[in-house]
């Protein structure tokens, strides 16, 4: 992957360096044909979270790539898996991979969030950059609009009509906001990407994950969350929905 971005790769193995492990790793790298990127292997023992965090800082990494399990067990959900802890604490962008494959499957489409949030512009820009580097074809910007933004409760035909009109209005407003962001994106990274804007009325954070799954997106790009506490996990919201049930590979932009 780092080939595609012309970046250097730092592999971090947590645990004692043994000859078998080193040999195994050599074998994997040897199986990698084509140009080898500039790579290094760090061997370090200790708590995986601390080690990886430290490595990120010391190596001045731009991106941390992690393998993650698709769904967390109940206990892990409350204690937090390694991947999740890292996601929360890492100082750089994090890429969570759930479906590693031996043969590279081209990344065809991606979904990015378009929340009204200061980080959103950055996330969309990053998504464009990543996707044009990966040669993807389609990017969907999903605006999640909380349902209570429409104050009308639907009881009968009249209130339904009113709420539908109100929703259309909000939709137009949101669309123009996203279009404004899209205008700022430099054309050189826009490439030939097909861009679709899809507004969704629904639970924030959850809807986009479900949407990504429905459209079979290969990558989901999200804003980094603010600091999360146990409270947030008891009453999940936003990113928590996606982290607890990864719909696809997720890139978290910080």
């Amino acid at each position: 992957m780092s080939v595609l971005f012309n970046a250097s790769l730092v592999m971090v193995h947590v645990g004692e360096q043994t000859t078998e492990k080193a040999a195994a790793l050599e074998k994997i790298i040897a199986g990698f044909d084509g140009d080898l990127p500039n790579y290094r292997v760090l061997w370090q023992a200790g708590n995986p979270v601390d080690v990886l965090l430290h490595a990120c800082i010391s190596q001045k990494a731009n991106l941390l790539i992690l393998g993650a399990i698709k769904r967390e067990g109940l206990l892990k959900y409350y204690l937090g898996s390694v991947a999740r802890k890292l996601t929360r604490k890492a100082p750089c962008d994090v890429l969570l991979l759930i479906k590693p494959s031996v043969v590279r499957v081209p990344c065809a489409s991606a979904v990015v969030n378009g929340l009204a949030h200061p980080k959103t512009e950055e996330a969309i820009e990053r998504a464009f950059y990543v996707l044009s580097s990966l040669g993807a074809q389609k990017l969907t910007v999903v605006e999640e609009i909380p349902e209570d933004s429409v104050a009308i409760k639907v009881d009968d035909d009249r209130s339904l009509r009113q709420s539908t009109i109100a929703k259309e209005r909000i939709k137009l407003r949101e669309n123009s906001r996203v279009q404004a962001i899209l205008k700022h994106i430099p054309t050189n990274i826009k490439g030939r990407l097909e861009v679709v804007v899809q507004p969704i009325f629904g639970t924030r954070g959850y809807s986009i994950g479900h949407y990504a799954r429905v459209v079979r997106a290969d990558l989901l790009v999200m804003n980094a969350p603010r600091k999360l506490t146990l409270w947030d996990r008891l009453f999940p919201h936003d990113l928590e929905y996606i982290l607890s049930d990864l719909p696809t590979d997720v890139l978290i932009v910080r």
């Binding site: 009968d156 009325f201 629904g202 049930d245």
Partner: protein, 731 residues
């Protein structure tokens, strides 16, 4: 809307209100007696309900009054709270009724309008059937003149032979007559819908029962013997209808039994009302959506008022509402007029009412009870699946053995247990219960609404899906995708079928996808069920009947195709003004022309609901036309042909063809166009085939001969007629 049509609407609402009051009166008296309340309590509930809900309600064509589901709870309340003393029990029960009204009001403000969606459909059905069985058994005794026997359902059931034996051996003449009236009344109720006579059907069945009872009384008074039935077996009304309001007794407010009663009354009345509102919305020809929360508030208020006046709970009732719809009611004023007529009738006819034997009213209730627990329901449950039958029977038996609340809770638990066993996975439910699982968005490209569901979808979390479905305008296309959903239960499927109907009525469409995949995908970890009741219904067991073979031969003769069980087109009849309230149940034995412009098929449809439901089985010929024609219906002239099929539309006269005009009854919304259509050629053609009923909706014609399936010969004649007609019009 002009003044004239407004007036026409008002007139049809007054008329509908009148017809409903005819059926409401005997029901109200009977339900009150069965509940252990004085007979007048039922009338109070109807009158107050009609007035209050008509003013404050949120539904359109519903009728409110005392409900049959509440009979069991209220009788229980009177017995338990009165500790044997029925009069004291009545006063305690009134207090409970008032408090349940207050609770209902609160429910309305808390927007609990979707409360009934939280109960599994099968368990609810089981509970309703248990209520039906209880009513049936208890009233069977009353119907045969026995007012004293009390006991649990099983004892009552086992006591039936004794009851009949006792009646034959030790019955007095009075009891005999009373029992005879009861049995005759039951016959009227049962065979009413089988007798297809227009004049007979002008008076609803319960009113025939009352007329029978009054006729009996008149006969004996005329011959000077006096009514042989003893006073206890006749309705008792207070001498002064307005004097001496009962005072509700709140003194048991600190007892848990009292609050248990209040809770069960509230639960049952709200569930009955909500289910009825949902069912009546399906019948409304104008396809409006009722505001259930607003209606709940109005029902709560009406219940409080009714309770203070000594009346029963006010709920929305399905049978009376469906009669209302069938008589062209178009708004809440019909409910209002039903209350007014009822009030006037009771004032004017109080003497006559006192002559109605209780046995006649009990017969009406026996039939109501039977409808709630009819064998058809058991068969349907079995067809949907053995596990549904298990849930149904468990709830039914539990309700009969304990009480309604315990029964429904056991039903809920059983349903959940069955789901867990079916999926062999508890964690699927436990882990995902609280997470959101529904995504809904409007596709930017197609403007369709997409609704995706993941994890599982059962009665436990259907409200999440429902809240999304409710905000989709029903004239749009919506797609519900279950392909990422591991388990979909029967309750959800049934509700979705309901939604399909709602969308279809408003010109939209709701499609369900992803369930078929599960059915075939054997590698899927969960046995996902795609139980659609219609699918599992085996209409044709074994070989074909002779008629089917003959129909097939007929199809071959014309070069048409024959299909035994075609896909049922539920929207078929609704496009025709005459059948706006009809619900198509099934189509079968379809003969189709290759070009699809003519088809002949058998059809089962129903009009109305519950005890006012009438099932019709007939054969239709459908002719799709190329040229547009006016909207009309053609019939042989009959006095009072269902009074007025289309509001504000009357028989069109043809001055040029006086004979034709006299013999036939042609209705249409545009007389000039219809007159132009019926030129000399058409008139002679239609006169020759006067035995057919022809209905046009502008684009296609429906032809029907009898209200029964046509014989193969009749079918052949119909096809000839259709071919000739199409040639005449399209040229």
């Amino acid at each position: 809307m002009g003044r004239k049509t407004k007036f026409a609407h008002l007139r049809s609402n007054i008329f509908a209100g009148f017809v409903v009051s005819l059926i409401a009166m005997p029901l109200a008296l009977g339900l009150a007696i069965a509940s252990g309340f004085p007979p007048i309590a039922g009338i109070i509930a109807s009158v107050v309900g009609g007035l209050v809900v008509a003013l404050f309600g949120g539904s359109y064509v519903t009728i409110t009054g005392p409900g049959n589901g509440l009979v069991v709870v209220l009788l229980g309340a009177v017995t338990v709270l009165g500790e044997g003393d029925m009069q004291a029990g009545y006063l305690y029960a009134l207090a409970a009724v008032i408090l349940s009204g207050v609770l209902l009001l609160v429910f309305g403000f808390l927007r609990f309008g979707s409360l009934s969606d939280f109960f599994p459909a099968t368990a609810l059905q089981g509970m309703l059937s248990a209520i039906g069985i209880t009513i049936l058994l208890k009233q069977l005794y009353v119907m045969l003149g026995d007012l004293t026997t009390k006991g649990a359902a099983l004892d009552l059931f086992l006591g039936i032979p004794d009851l009949i034996h006792a009646l034959i051996t030790d019955g007095t003449t009075g009891q005999w007559y009373a029992a005879a009236i009861g049995v005759a009344s039951l016959f009227i109720m049962v065979f009413y819908s089988n007798i297809r006579n227009r004049f007979f059907h002008l008076v609803p069945a319960p009113m025939w029962v009352v007329l029978l009872a009054l006729g009996f009384d008149a006969y004996f008074s005329f011959f000077g013997q006096g009514n042989p039935i003893s006073k206890e077996l006749l309705i008792s009304l207070p001498e002064n209808l307005f004097g001496g309001l009962p005072t509700p007794n709140f003194s048991k407010w600190n007892q848990s039994t009292f609050w248990g009663v209040v809770l069960s009354i509230t639960l049952i009345s709200s569930i009955e009302s909500l289910l009825s509102i949902k069912a009546v919305d399906k019948l409304d020809p104008q396809k409006r959506r009722s505001n259930a929360n607003k209606d709940m508030k109005a029902l709560g208020l009406a219940t409080v008022v009714s309770g203070f006046l000594g009346g029963m709970n006010v709920v929305t009732v399905i049978a009376r509402s469906s009669v209302n719809v069938n008589n062209q009611a178009s708004n809440r004023s019909a409910n209002f007029f039903h209350a007014v007529f009822l009030f006037v009738m009771v004032l004017v006819f109080q003497d006559q009412l006192r002559r109605i034997p209780l046995t006649a009213l009990a017969a009406i209730l026996v039939y109501t009870g039977y409808k709630l627990a009819s064998p058809v329901i058991f068969v349907r449950m079995y067809q949907i699946g053995k596990e549904q039958l298990l849930v149904f029977l468990t709830t039914l038996i539990a309700t009969l053995l304990t009480d309604l609340i315990t029964g429904i809770l056991i039903g809920l638990a059983t349903t959940f247990a069955v789901h867990v066993v079916l999926n062999k996975a508890f964690w699927l439910f436990s882990r995902n219960l609280l997470k959101p699982n529904v995504l809904m968005y409007k596709e930017t490209e197609t403007q369709n609404y997409y609704v995706g569901v993941i994890h599982f979808c059962t009665f436990l979390n259907f409200y999440k899906l429902k809240s999304k479905l409710d905000v989709i305008p029903q004239d749009m296309r919506a797609v519900v995708d279950f392909s990422l959903c591991s388990f979909v239960d029967h309750t959800v499927q049934e509700s979705l079928q309901n939604y399909e109907g709602l969308f279809e009525r408003k010109g939209g469409a709701l499609e369900i996808i992803g369930l078929d995949v599960h059915d075939t995908d054997s590698s899927h970890p969960f046995a996902v069920r795609t139980l659609r009741p219609m699918k599992t219904l085996r209409v044709f067991g074994g070989g074909r009947t002779k008629r089917q073979q003959q129909l097939e031969a007929l199809a071959q003769e014309h070069g048409w195709t024959y299909t035994e069980a075609p896909k049922t087109n539920k929207a078929l009849l609704r496009g025709h003004p005459v059948y706006q309230t009809a619900v198509v149940e099934r189509m079968y034995n379809m003969l189709e022309e290759p070009k699809n412009s003519l088809s002949l098929f058998d059809i089962t449809y129903s009009e109305g609901a519950f005890i006012a439901k009438e099932n019709v089985q007939t054969t239709f010929l459908r002719v799709t036309l190329e040229k547009p024609i006016p909207i009309f219906s053609f019939d042989r002239e009959l006095l009072l042909e269902k009074l007025s099929h289309l509001a504000g539309v009357h028989d069109i006269d043809f001055p040029d063809f006086p004979e034709f005009s006299k013999d036939f009854y042609v209705q249409g919304d545009n007389p000039t166009k219809v007159r132009a259509f019926f030129n000399a050629k058409m008139v002679s053609f239609f006169s020759a085939y006067g035995f057919y009923h022809v209905m046009s909706n502008g684009k296609e014609l429906l032809v029907r001969q009898f209200l029964r399936p046509a014989t193969p010969a009749e079918a052949a004649a119909m096809i000839e007629f259709g071919l000739a007609l199409k040639k005449k019009i399209d040229g």
